[in-house]
C-alpha cells in the first residue's frame, strides 16, 4: 500500500506520455487504432491519478506519519473532514489535486466526445495529455506527495522513520470553507484547460466552422462558474476567518485567481460574436490561450514567491518549472496561430458602432483593461525593482483607484449591451429601451443623495445597479408579455416559459443581476465603521445603532485547541437583540492562535466582532467591532451568479412554432413579423442569442 500511490502516479505519467506519442502518430499516419489507443491511455490516466489521490487520503485517515506530507499537514486530533481537506494543505498535495481535477476534466471530455468529431478529438486529446505530462512531471519528480520520512541510525545508516503524531493542519485552513474553497478554485483553473485544448486542436487541425466553440461552451461555463464560486468562497473565508473586517485585499494570490476569471468572462461574451456573425475569431482563440496561460501564471505567482504575499505556498523553487511551461505554451500557441492564421479570417464586418457587436467589443476591451490593470499592479513591484533597484509596494489603494472606474464602466455596459440589436440599433430603439431604466437609476440616485449617500463611486454604482436591474427586468417583461398574450397564460408562467426557451440568454441576464448585487455589496465599503476597545466585564462598546455589553470571558479546551471566548450581549435602542461569542483558538499542534469571528449578518449590515486577544500592555481583553454595510449582498449575488450560470447551461426547451397567421390586433405593433410562419420562426431566431 505504501508504494501504490507513487507507483500509480508514475504509471499515470507514462500513460500521458503514451497518449501524446500515440495521438501524434495517429494524426500523422491517420490510423484510427492509434488515436483510439491514445484516447484510452488518456482515460487510464484519470483512473491512475484517482488511485494516487485515494492512497494519499488513506494515509491521512490512517494517520500514517511515516509519510512526510501527512506528518507535515495532519495530526491525530484533527477532525476527519479536515483530514480529508489536508490533501491540499501543502504544495505537493495541492499539485496532486490539480492533476487529479485536470485528469477528471480530460476523462469526461474524452468520454463524452468519444464517438464525435473524429477529426478534432485526436488533437484535443494530445493537448490535454500534454498539459497532464507537465503536472505529472511535477508530481513525480519535483514535488512528490509520497516522500517518506527517513533518518540515520547511530551507525549512520539511513532508515525509514515515523512520527508519533503529525504537526497538524495550518489553523487558518481549519474552517469549513477551506474544505471546498481550494477544490472550487482549482476546478476553475483546470477547467479552462478543456476550451484551451479544443481551441488549439481546432487551430492545429484547421477544423472548420465554429464547432469547437459549440463543443466547449458548457465546459467554459462550468470552469467559469467554479472559478467564480472559488473566488467568492475565498473572499468569504478571508472575511470570516482572518478577522480584519474585509474580504478582498488585492493580495497577489487573490489577483492571480481574478485574472483568468476576467479573461474567461470576456471569452464567454465575445464567443457570441463568432457564433452569430463569424467575427473575432483571432480574438477568441487568443482569449482562450490567454485565459489558460493566466491560470498557469496564477499558479506561478502563488508558488514561486516572485511577489510577496501572505499566502502560504510562496517561496519555492518550483516557479522555474512554471516559467518554462508558460514559455512553451506561448511558443506552441503562437506558432500554431501563425501557421494557421488564414483559417481565422472573419466572415462578416461590423455594420454599426451602435450595435450588439460593438458593445461586445467594448465589453471585451474594458474587461481586458481591468485584467491588465490587475496584472500590471501585481507585477509592477518586480518590474520596478528590476529597473530602479528599489523595492516598492503596490497596495490596495492603487488597485481601488485604477479598477473602480473600469468596473463601473463595465457595469454600465452590462445594462447597455444586451439591449442593443445585432448589426444596428436605431435611435428610437435606444430611447425605447433605455429611457425608463435610466430614469429609474437617476431617481434612485436622487433618493440616495437625499438620505445622505455622499460617496461618489458608491452613488454611481447604485445608479448603475438600478439601471441594469431595470433593463434586465424590462427584457424579461417584454418577452414574457408577448408569450402571455399569445398563449393566454399569466405573466409569471410566461417568464418561466421565456427563460426555458432561451436559457442561455435569460440565464445570462440572471448572472448579470447577480453581478449587480455583488457590486451593490461592494459599494457599501466606504460606509464601514470600526471601534476597538479594551473591555472588562460589564463594560459597553458603542458602534452605529448597537451597544455591546461584555458579559463574560471563559475558556474552552478541546483535543485540537484551547479557546478563549468572550460573551457579548448586543443591544439596539435599549433592547437586547442577540448574544455573540467571538473566540480566539490556540491550536496545540501548530502552537498558533487564530480568531473565530462572530458575525451577525443582515441584508442592511453586518455586525462583525473580533476578540483580538489580551492587550500586550495591560492584559485587558480587547474587542474590535466592525459595522460593514451590505456585505450580505455579495454572498447572495454569488448564489444568483451560480444559479444563472446553471440556468444558462440547460438545453433550450423547444418552442411550439405557431404556424397560423395571427391578427395584428392580438400581437400589437411590436411583433408584426410573426404574422407569417417565417416571421414566427425569424422572431424566435432573433431572440436566440
Amino acid at each position: 500500500m505504501d508504494i501504490l500511490g507513487s507507483f500509480a502516479l508514475l504509471l499515470a505519467f507514462l500513460g500521458a506520455v503514451y497518449a501524446v506519442a500515440a495521438g501524434i502518430a495517429g494524426i500523422l499516419t491517420r490510423k484510427t487504432l492509434l488515436t483510439k489507443s491514445a484516447r484510452n491511455a488518456g482515460l487510464a490516466v484519470f483512473v491512475l491519478v484517482t488511485i494516487a489521490v485515494g492512497c494519499l487520503e488513506y494515509y491521512f485517515f490512517t494517520d500514517n506519519f511515516s509519510m512526510a506530507y501527512v506528518a507535515a499537514h495532519s495530526n491525530r486530533a484533527l477532525p476527519f473532514y479536515y483530514k480529508f481537506a489536508a490533501l491540499w494543505a501543502g504544495q505537493e498535495g495541492s499539485l496532486l489535486l490539480w492533476t487529479w481535477l485536470l485528469s477528471t476534466y480530460a476523462f469526461f471530455a474524452l468520454l463524452v466526445n468519444r464517438n464525435k468529431h473524429p477529426e478534432l478529438m485526436p488533437y484535443a486529446g494530445v493537448v490535454l495529455a500534454g498539459v497532464q505530462i507537465f503536472f505529472l512531471t511535477l508530481n513525480n519528480f519535483v514535488a512528490s506527495p509520497f516522500a517518506v520520512l527517513a533518518g540515520s541510525d547511530p551507525s549512520g545508516v539511513m532508515r525509514l522513520s515515523t512520527l508519533s503524531d503529525g504537526h497538524g493542519l495550518n489553523p487558518l485552513l481549519q474552517y469549513p470553507e477551506m474544505v471546498i474553497h481550494p477544490p472550487m478554485l482549482y476546478l476553475g483553473y483546470t477547467g479552462f484547460t478543456v476550451p484551451f485544448a479544443f481551441a488549439l486542436a481546432a487551430l492545429l487541425g484547421r477544423y472548420p466552422g465554429e464547432k469547437w466553440i459549440h463543443i466547449t461552451r458548457r465546459w467554459t461555463m462550468i470552469a467559469w462558474c467554479f472559478q467564480s464560486v472559488g473566488i467568492l468562497l475565498g473572499a468569504h473565508w478571508a472575511y470570516a476567518v482572518l478577522g480584519w473586517g474585509g474580504y478582498w485585499a488585492w493580495d497577489p494570490v487573490e489577483n492571480a485567481s481574478l485574472l483568468p476569471w476576467i479573461t474567461g468572462t470576456a471569452f464567454l461574451h465575445s464567443v457570441m460574436m463568432q457564433e452569430k456573425r463569424g467575427m473575432m475569431k483571432v480574438w477568441n482563440i487568443w482569449l482562450v490561450f490567454t485565459t489558460f496561460m493566466l491560470c498557469i501564471l496564477g499558479t506561478l505567482l502563488t508558488r514561486s514567491g516572485i511577489v510577496s504575499s501572505v499566502h502560504a505556498f510562496a517561496q519555492s523553487s518550483i516557479g522555474n518549472w512554471f516559467v518554462g511551461f508558460l514559455i512553451l505554451v506561448f511558443v506552441v500557441c503562437f506558432a500554431s496561430y501563425w501557421k494557421n492564421r488564414d483559417y481565422l479570417r472573419s466572415d462578416n464586418q461590423l455594420d454599426s458602432l451602435v450595435s450588439r457587436e460593438s458593445s461586445f467589443l467594448f465589453n471585451n476591451l474594458i474587461l481586458l483593461a481591468a485584467c491588465f490593470a490587475v496584472l500590471w499592479g501585481t507585477l509592477f513591484p518586480v518590474l520596478s525593482e528590476a529597473v530602479t533597484g528599489n523595492k516598492i509596494s503596490v497596495g490596495p489603494p492603487f488597485f481601488n483607484k485604477v479598477n473602480i472606474p473600469i468596473a463601473l464602466f463595465l457595469l454600465l455596459l452590462t445594462g447597455v449591451g444586451p439591449l442593443l440589436a445585432w448589426r444596428k440599433t436605431s435611435f428610437d430603439a435606444l430611447k425605447r429601451n433605455f429611457a425608463w431604466p435610466l430614469l429609474g437609476g437617476v431617481v434612485a440616485g436622487a433618493i440616495a443623495l437625499v438620505f445622505g449617500f455622499r460617496d461618489i463611486y458608491s452613488l454611481i454604482c447604485l445608479i448603475l445597479g438600478v439601471f441594469v436591474t431595470l433593463t434586465i427586468l424590462s427584457e424579461f417583461f417584454r418577452g414574457a408579455r408577448v408569450i402571455a398574450v399569445r398563449d393566454g397564460s399569466n405573466l409569471i408562467s410566461a417568464v418561466g416559459e421565456l427563460t426555458m426557451r432561451n436559457t442561455r440568454r435569460y440565464g445570462g441576464y440572471v448572472v448579470h443581476f447577480g453581478m449587480v448585487l455583488i457590486f451593490i455589496g461592494i459599494a457599501g465599503v466606504p460606509f464601514n465603521k470600526d471601534v476597538q476597545k479594551e473591555m472588562a466585564i460589564g463594560e459597553t462598546l458603542n458602534i452605529g445603532p448597537y451597544s455591546i455589553l461584555c458579559q463574560n470571558f471563559d475558556r474552552v479546551a478541546t483535543a485540537n485547541y484551547d479557546s478563549e471566548r468572550a460573551t457579548l450581549e448586543v443591544f439596539r435602542g435599549g433592547k437586547s437583540e442577540m448574544m455573540l461569542y467571538p473566540e480566539r483558538r490556540f491550536f496545540l499542534s501548530s502552537q498558533v492562535t487564530e480568531t473565530m469571528v462572530a458575525v451577525q449578518s443582515s441584508p442592511l449590515r453586518d455586525l462583525y466582532i473580533v476578540y483580538a486577544g489580551r492587550s500586550p500592555e495591560n492584559g485587558q481583553p480587547v474587542i474590535h467591532a466592525y459595522l460593514n454595510p451590505l456585505v450580505k449582498w455579495i454572498w447572495f449575488g454569488g448564489i444568483v451568479v451560480v444559479l444563472g450560470t446553471g440556468l444558462a447551461m440547460l438545453p433550450n426547451r423547444r418552442a411550439a412554432l405557431v404556424l397560423r397567421p395571427v391578427t395584428e390586433q392580438a400581437w400589437g405593433d411590436r411583433v408584426p413579423a410573426s404574422a407569417s410562419p417565417i416571421g414566427a420562426i425569424a422572431q424566435r431566431g432573433d431572440a436566440s442569442d
Binding site: W244, S384, T388, N390, K391, P616
Partner: protein
C-alpha cells in the same frame, strides 16, 4: 390684560431654566468645538497618513493603521505598527506637512514603506500605464472597426426564394447542433 401679562411673565420665568440650560449646552458644545485645531485633526489626519504607509514588521502586508496580525498572539497592531503610528501622530502634532512626514518614512525604510508607488520617475509608469494602455487599445479597436466598416459591403440577396418548410427544417437542425 394684567392677568395676561402675569401669565406671560410666569411663562418667561418657566423658560428661564430652559434658556440657561441651552446657553450652558451651547457653551459646552462651543468649548468642545474650540479645542486647538491641530489636536482635533490629529487623529483623523494621523489615521489617514497611517493608511498611506506600510507596517514594516515584515510579517504582514497591512498599513500602519490597519495592521492586524492573523496568527499572532494579539490580532491588532503590532509594536512596529504602533511605533510608526506614534511617530506619525507626533509629526502631525508638530504640524508637519504630509509630504514631509512620508518623506521621513521613505528615508528610514526606503520607498517600499509607501503603500502605493510614488508618482514620479519610473514609478510614474505604475499610474500612467493602466490609463494609457486601454486608451491605446481603444484607438486600435477604433481603427480596426473603421477598416472593417470600409471593407464591409452588403451583398444583395439573390437566388430562388427558400420554401418555409425547408427553412424551418434548417432552423431545427441548426438548433439541435447548437444545443450540443
Amino acid at each position: 390684560m394684567i392677568r395676561c401679562y402675569a401669565s406671560e411673565l410666569r411663562r418667561s420665568r418657566a423658560r428661564l431654566p430652559l434658556l440657561a440650560l441651552s446657553a450652558l449646552a451651547f457653551l459646552v458644545q462651543s468649548s468642545l468645538l474650540f479645542v486647538p485645531p491641530s489636536q482635533a485633526q490629529q487623529t483623523e489626519r494621523g489615521k489617514e497618513l497611517g493608511r498611506r504607509v506600510k507596517c514594516m514588521c515584515g510579517g504582514c502586508e497591512d498599513s500602519a493603521t490597519g495592521c492586524n496580525h492573523t496568527g499572532g498572539s494579539f490580532s491588532g497592531p503590532c509594536d512596529t505598527a504602533k511605533g510608526m503610528q506614534k511617530e506619525i501622530n507626533e509629526r502631525v502634532g508638530r504640524n508637519e506637512s504630509d509630504d514631509l512626514t512620508l518623506q521621513a518614512f521613505v528615508q528610514e525604510y526606503g520607498p517600499t514603506v509607501l503603500i502605493v508607488p510614488p508618482a514620479k520617475g519610473f514609478n510614474l509608469a505604475a499610474w500612467v500605464t493602466p490609463v494609457v494602455a486601454p486608451i491605446l487599445a481603444l484607438v486600435l479597436v477604433w481603427f480596426v472597426v473603421r477598416r472593417w466598416r470600409q471593407k464591409g459591403t452588403l451583398a444583395t440577396a439573390s437566388g430562388p426564394e427558400v420554401p418555409a418548410e425547408f427553412l424551418s427544417r434548417a432552423k431545427r437542425e441548426a438548433g439541435r447542433e447548437y444545443d450540443e
